[in-house]
């Protein structure tokens, strides 16, 4: 974790050109696109009466959204004092340039993909997967290239992080293509696995034609070091023994199971892509099948490729998607503000699938920058305010590290210890066992759990930080800030990234007085603040 500090005006302005120069294609200025998106949304919904959020809220929101951490006290104060009219744009350009941008969104995409794993053994490769994602995002690799990497990957899952998506499904064709379709196109074609889709136009035949791009892929175990290979065959294997229905070896072609008689092999299916009705012939090599599929999924004529990720990013940042759930799109779905959605997705495609451009654009809209309000009821007007989001496990973990100024030992493969499957030894993953949630699910359905409350209230990790040891955050605060009012204000900035209002200040000061013991009272105050809803929420 780096201590980030926000520089003064002169240095700030320098970032303007840096960022726009980075965009590979002749993308429209993200600021102009944001203005047009707002205009369309106004037209398609109604003008919002909610104000822009204040600076303190904005800084914390941007930091949590982009780097997944809290702003430093200096960052908040400097930004508040700065009076340049474009300072919000400078801030988000500045933060998007930080290496923690890649880390934060790698954590997000890791969760999008691994929460849906059907194979826990794939967790063996999760660190490599995370690293691949973070590096790709930081170098701003275009989204179509990332998609291609994930669709065509092979190799050792602990070495080659590109294998993460396939490994999560053990390379099983049906599950793997379902995930490719869901993640990259927002199409839930898997519902057509056993019967024609009830609410969409997709047929069972089309589902299995998609699966037919993947029959040759499998995941083969390796001992010493313990790992798995994502591995494809192009010839009939000598040993076709399937060990306990583990998918250790693929088959040359895909057979569509006969549901009446599962023991029967079922007809061989020609790989065919349901979006463009093009096919590759039976017998085509694995490499050619998968790269053809990657070509077609990422083709600029396939509007769903840009739409799926645009909808996700919008939903993560504004709090409400154009389509919900975020991964359920397609021609037969209801869309909020469809013109704005088409326009934004189209501009994202025109940018060369530039993810930083997309994020900067969304964050420049008024829709993003408004105050947040509780999620609307279904009969209320959409997109009138930003919607508070529960922090993802990594964001909460990092926020706690920020508050207490703790460093995380970066997890390495060695941290996995003698049992490489045991990720609980990595504190971040142990924390995620309790605080993690599947980011594909509707955010309103993400609820907090009793073990979470117990961990926040009673874990020794947190309570150790409240001992007022001389070098702890609390110890330093007590020593360096003798004035109680000043110290309360500083704590609020540190934990909630804002100053306390008058009642909060009064309550805190009264509490300190009543308790008597200053160190005990401030320990209780930190304890209370990190247990507030506000601390655990990005608002």
């Amino acid at each position: 974790m780096h201590l980030r500090s926000f520089a003064v005006t002169a240095a700030l302005t320098a970032f303007i050109s840096v960022f726009s120069a980075q965009s590979p294609c002749a993308a429209q200025s993200f600021v102009d696109v944001a203005v047009e998106v707002d205009r369309l949304i106004n037209e398609e919904t109604q003008p919002s009466e909610i104000n822009r959020c204040d600076d303190e809220t904005f800084v914390r929101r941007v930091y949590l959204d982009v780097v997944g951490q809290l702003p430093s006290l200096d960052d908040i104060l400097v930004f508040g004092l700065e009076d340049h009219p474009d300072k919000r744009r400078f801030l988000l350009e500045f933060v998007l340039d930080d290496q923690d941008y890649g880390t934060n969104w790698a954590n997000y995409w890791r969760d999008v993909i691994t929460y849906r794993r059907t194979n826990d053994q794939s967790q063996l490769g999760v660190l490599a997967f995370q690293q691949y994602l973070a590096e790709s995002l930081n170098e701003n690799k275009p989204w179509d290239e990332i998609a291609r990497d994930l669709i065509t990957a092979s190799g050792d899952i602990r070495e080659n992080g590109e294998t993460g998506l396939i490994a999560a499904q053990q390379g099983r064709p049906e599950e793997t293509v379902s995930e490719i379709s869901r993640i990259f196109m927002g199409i839930q074609i898997q519902c057509a696995q056993c019967h024609d889709h009830p609410t969409d136009q997709w047929t069972r035949q089309q589902f299995h034609e998609l699966a037919a791009f993947f029959p040759r892929v499998a995941m083969r175990p390796q001992m010493d070091p313990r790992t798995f290979l994502v591995y494809a065959i192009d010839r009939t294997p000598r040993n076709r023994r399937q060990n306990n229905n583990n998918r250790f070896i693929g088959t040359l072609e895909h057979n569509m199971p006969n549901l009446e008689n599962p023991a029967e092999e079922g007809p061989v299916i020609t790989p065919k892509f349901f979006m463009n009705d093009k096919e590759v012939v039976i017998g085509t090599s694995d490499a050619s099948r998968r790269s053809t599929l990657a070509d077609w999924v990422t083709d600029s004529n396939n509007q769903w490729f840009a739409k799926a990720v645009t909808n996700r990013m919008w939903s993560e940042l504004v709090g409400e998607g154009f389509c919900e759930p975020v991964d359920d799109l397609g021609p037969d779905r209801d869309v909020t503000a469809p013109e704005a959605f088409d326009y934004l997705a189209g501009q994202f495609a025109a940018s060369g699938y530039d993810l930083k451009w997309l994020i900067a654009t969304i964050m420049s809209t008024e829709s993003y920058q408004r105050e947040s309000r509780d999620r609307r009821n279904y009969d209320e007007v959409p997109f009138q305010a930003n919607v508070p989001q529960p922090l993802r496990s990594d964001q909460l973990f990092d926020s706690l590290l920020n508050v207490f100024e703790l460093e995380e030992k970066p997890p390495t493969s060695n941290a996995q210890g003698p049992n490489p499957f045991n990720l609980r030894n990595v504190p971040r993953f142990g924390f995620a066992n309790v605080f993690g949630y599947d980011p594909n699910n509707l955010r309103e359905e993400v609820s907090t759990s009793i073990p979470q409350a117990l961990a926040m209230m009673n874990s020794t990790f947190i309570n150790q930080q409240l001992n007022a040891a001389p070098n702890s955050v609390l110890g330093k605060l007590l020593r360096e800030v003798p004035d109680n009012q000043q110290a309360v204000k500083e704590l609020y900035l540190r934990v909630l990234s804002r100053r306390p209002n008058r009642s909060e200040l009064n309550t805190s000061l009264t509490y300190i007085r009543q308790v008597g013991d200053r160190s005990e009272a401030f320990a209780d105050l930190i304890w209370a603040l990190i247990n507030t809803t506000e601390f655990k929420t990005r608002k």
Binding site: R116, T118, N119, Q121, A168, Q169, E175, S178, E179, R182, Q188, Q190, C191, H195, P198, T199, N243, N244, N245, N246, P325, D328, S372, D374, R375, A385, P388, P390, D438, N440, L442, E445, S447, T448, S449, I450, P451, Q452, A453, L454, A455, M457, N458, S459, N501, S503, E504, T507, Y511, Q514, V515, D524, L525, W527, A528, T532, T533, E534, K536, K539
Partner: protein, 437 residues
Amino acid sequence: MSGFLGAHDTIRDWNALMKIKNSRQEINRRTALTAGSVGALSMLNWKLPIIANAAQIKANAKSCILLWMGGGPSQFETWDPKSGHSNGGETQSVQTSIPGVNLAMGLKETASIADELCIIRSMNGPEGSHPRASYVTQTGYLPTASVKYPAIGSHVAQHLGDADANLPSFVRIGNTRNSAKAGLLGVDFDPFLLSSAERLPDNTQIQTTESRYKRRLGLLNQLEDDASDDGSKKAVIANRKLYGKASRMILSPEMDAFDLSKESPSSREAYGDGSFAAGCLMARRLVETGVTFVEVASSNWDTHFDNFSRTTDLCAEVDLPFAQLVRDLKQRGMLDSTLVVWLGEFGRTPRINGRGGRDHYPRAYSMAMAGCGIKGGQVIGQTDDGGVEITDRPVKVNDLLHTLYTVLGVEPEFENLSSIGRPIKIVENGSLIDGVM
């Protein structure tokens, strides 16, 4: 398609159910708010909202204890010995009180409670790898990326659990790799996890004095009231409710159920030694306190080598605690309302391999259950002399699940909705096993 047409009615029912659920939540919210304002008035003396004694309410409800034999227990060394056949290996058998029915010698104690047991020797499962077979046994479905299917305990907790009880409705004790959780039902129905019955559950010990702890909670409530933000009222209410519930739990007298030192030495002794024994005793304490579903894991049944000596040890860990659990429940009048299930993800091969071990075998294996109106003293199904094939009354995993839910009074074909609105039955294509009840 017809399945989906039929489902529309269910969706309507589901909406009606949700309305009821929501109005219930409103009431709870109001209670929580009132409780909060009490705290706000007197910060230094935070009051816990008083609720009715959950154990009282649950006195007549059904409960379930699932003894999970992780790794796949050998049927030859437990419920279906084949002494006399070469596939039976060195394992001797012991007579039970059921005429003509023998168990493997390792289950000597268990043999003495056979009158209470319904033993199934004709289980047939679809999968032979640990993760997939465990998942299918605990959920009734193969794993899919799009739908996370709930575990048995999660369904039972949803239907039979008391949402206002101080303790969680679903507790899982021991090392349970490959175990499903609440999935699409949401975290409210996740298992409350204990890595071992021999120490208290994580983070349930307050780190300060109780009075300071309550004072802190009062401060938290007051500061949340003071915050002027009007953008997250719903979340603040939910947070307050959650902290109220978590605090009630850890300060409640029911927490004693997790503390085996409260048990008399003689009753600890009756269950025997070891962590599985401790888990069984804790399961009885939890059910007695009103917990709906308790899972206790014994996890080393994957005997690919030295099967005979290892299963001898494993049986020694499991035999007495299981028998004593059933006896204890019976003695306390709890067996009629408590279903005890002994089950693993599959069985083991009839052939003994070159390393004296047995490998995975889902084709024909055994399980046992007792209590809750189950007809004891019977064996359902049988295998041939070598234990290779089922020769009578095959029981599929989904038949077993269908039966367990039915015995507990949970409608097995109840439908929940997936995140994209697909109706998902608790169990599909299962049917009640004849003669169990």
